[in-house]
Amino acid sequence: MKYVDEFRDPALGEVLAGEILGLVEPGRHYKFMEVCGGHTHSIYKYGIDDLLPANVELVHGPGCPVCVIPMGRVDDGISLAHQPDVIFTCFGDMLRVPGSDGTLLDAKAEGADIRMVYSPLDALRIAKANPDRPVIFFAIGFETTAPSTALTLKRAKAEGVKNFFCMCNHVTIVPPLRALLDSPDLRLDGFIGPGHVSTVVGVRPFEFIPREYKKPISVAGFEPLDVLHAIHMILTQIKEGRCEVENQYARVVPYDGNPRALEVMSEVFELRPHFEWRGMGFISQSGLKLSEAYADMDAEIQYSVPGIRVADPKACQCGEVLKGVIKPWECKVFGSGCTPERPIGTCMVSSEGACAAYYNYGRFAREREVV
């Protein structure tokens, strides 16, 4: 594949890995968090861990949009899906996320009309094809996917589609990062910044990380060379005693992001005072809801949803995993009570989740050399 294979060149990967080895200070342990689930996925998919010295440890962050949805929100979604005549649409990964009593896939087997879509526009298309039935889109994701939801709602409004609704679970990246950095048990040496989110928000919102918390960060792309390059950049900063935001993904990410996407987001969404994150509790101003102008398309307003907060399962330690405090295998139920086939916590649900990734690929990431 043109413009993709270039970023998967094993020969260049070897060169970068060699240079990384040279940047590592013998005997020192480095812990870097890749914020975005997409990076976690790349790291495992390409076996990037195998190319790093064992004292460079990658910690999986809170940036998997499916993983951070709390049980109560899943329950609300299932309750909407069971409303008479409703066609409920969502992304495929969401289908398997456990609520307090089953998943959306179970609700589908019980008779709810739940359809997997690949884009909010698909949901709008379904709404137009079924004008006599309400169609609800279960929106999830960070600033990466929020603009496409916003544009779809805008289009539905402009076209006068009356049967299209949205249950908004969009979240923003900076508040959970700040919550992480404020947590006393966190020990990190740097961040691999979220490339996709940054295409929308730009690099500027991450300036507080080096400024206030003295941690270097490199916003990175998702091909294996991108990830290695970002690690190289962070290690170089540490070696040279610098601490700043760098943009590894400059071929895609402008420093100030995408102003048009930000504009449509601010038109369609407004910040919720609080939003609950699985395992991390409530974080102020971290979630989005539909703005007043779009209230008639807000499924949470137009339908009554239980809105009950469901405590995370006690045994599940998704929160600590998301914070990077423990490794997936250190969780009490990992691999016994909680497996990819029968997940308890959402870190196990999505293939991007830290636990699912470790369950599937963990064993072979460990036989590395320590410098």
Binding site: M1, Y44, Y46, G47, D50, G92, L105, A109, N360, E369
Partner: protein, 362 residues
């Protein structure tokens, strides 16, 4: 020096591996679409409910076809249902699949396909022209495969109770004496071959549904694999250990089943796996691994190392096998697992499919 892995981490990883190697349990409260996807949920249904209920020597092998001894000879028997949506797609239709799918399961036992039964379940309101077209497709595919349709059945259900038409076929074939194939006969050192580019069928169906607004010239690979198997049996004889056609769940699922059945590890060389560039592109966009995508005319062959070259040459000499490749080999450790050596230079576990990216593929 190797990195320190704590005793506790090792213990947890060992638990996972033991769990992986175990026969799956069927514990679900109801059937979901995942049970039809050919991945882990399907395995739990088959291994946890069906096989224990009907256990016998032939079924317990869990091969693509069972064997029955008749008058001193060995008859191979298999059955399959076809519910593909849409019923017509680039490269074929439900009629082609109904013949080739069953014939191929017979062929994977190393048996020459002889005869098929044909059951049609038709939806009220199905246009006669659609039915005639599919009947013609069935007749043509059967002729090409050299099998007779010797019996059949028809049922009609109310509108909405089936989607246009479903087809069930049962096939029998005659087992020769060139080799005894078994999924539990694999040994470390055996080579793993595929008969061509993988993932074409699943991708063609996906694009034919028009849900993704992707356009690419991909055709289903549906074809009868018996001529290829015939040639392979001549070329490799007893060195041919096992054959599988990589339908639902793709090549990855087949390899996982075999690795578990034979208690070997497999290491696959990602760069050696033949994939059509358009299939790779579609899979990339949709976040699917071509190793998990269904095929309808591709086989996986496990061959002892000394016969690997001859087997590969035999595959490549046949129509549809031109791009056959050796993609990996069996190893000792870690038992029951399939590893992928990535083109980038790392390694990952190539697990069975979990969940269902694409229902009703065949």
């Amino acid at each position: 020096m190797p990195s320190e892995v704590s005793e506790r981490e090792r213990k947890v990883l060992d638990i996972i591996e033991t769990a992986r190697a175990k026969r799956a349990k069927f514990r679900d409260a109801q059937i979901t679409m995942a049970h039809g996807a050919g991945g882990k949920a399907t395995a739990s249904l088959i291994e946890g409910l069906l096989v224990p209920a009907f256990s016998n020597e032939s079924l317990d092998q869990m091969a693509d076809a069972g064997t029955v001894s008749v008058l001193g000879g060995q008859i191979v028997m298999t059955t399959d249902s076809f519910v593909v949506k849409p019923i017509v797609f680039p490269g074929g239709s439900i009629g082609d699949l109904a013949v080739n799918g069953t014939v191929n399961d017979v062929a994977m036992a190393g048996a020459r396909p002889l005869a098929l039964s044909l059951s049609l379940i038709l939806e009220e309101g199905l246009p006669a022209d659609t039915l005639k077209r599919e009947v013609a497709a069935i007749a043509k595919a059967a002729e090409a495969a050299g099998v007779s349709i010797v019996t059949g059945d028809t049922k009609v259900v109310e509108r909405g109770h089936c989607d246009e038409m479903y087809i069930c076929t049962t096939g029998i074939g005659l087992l020769g004496d060139r080799t005894a194939l078994s999924p539990s006969s694999l040994k470390p050192g055996d080579k793993i071959l595929v008969s061509g580019r993988i993932g074409d069928h699943g991708t063609a169906i996906m694009l034919a549904r028009g849900e993704f607004e992707l356009d690419a010239d991909i055709k289903s690979d549906t074809q009868c694999l018996w001529p290829m198997v015939d040639k392979l049996l001549d070329a490799a004889g007893p060195s041919l250990k096992c054959l599988r056609d990589a339908t639902r769940g793709g090549v990855a699922s087949v390899l996982n089943e075999l690795a578990r059945a034979s208690r070997v590890a497999m290491i696959i060389n990602e760069a050696a796996v033949p994939v059509h560039p358009a299939v790779a592109g579609a899979a990339e966009i949709l976040g699917i691994d071509p190793m998990h995508v269904a095929n309808e005319g591709k086989l996986v062959a496990i061959v002892a190392p000394e016969a690997a070259d001859a087997a590969l040459a035999a595959l490549r000499s046949m129509p549809g096998g031109e791009e056959a490749a050796e993609i990996g080999e069996c190893k000792t450790e870690p038992e029951g697992m399939v590893l992928m050596a990535t083109a980038f230079g790392g390694k990952r576990v190539m697990d069975q499919l979990v969940g269902d990216p694409l229902p009703r593929i065949c």
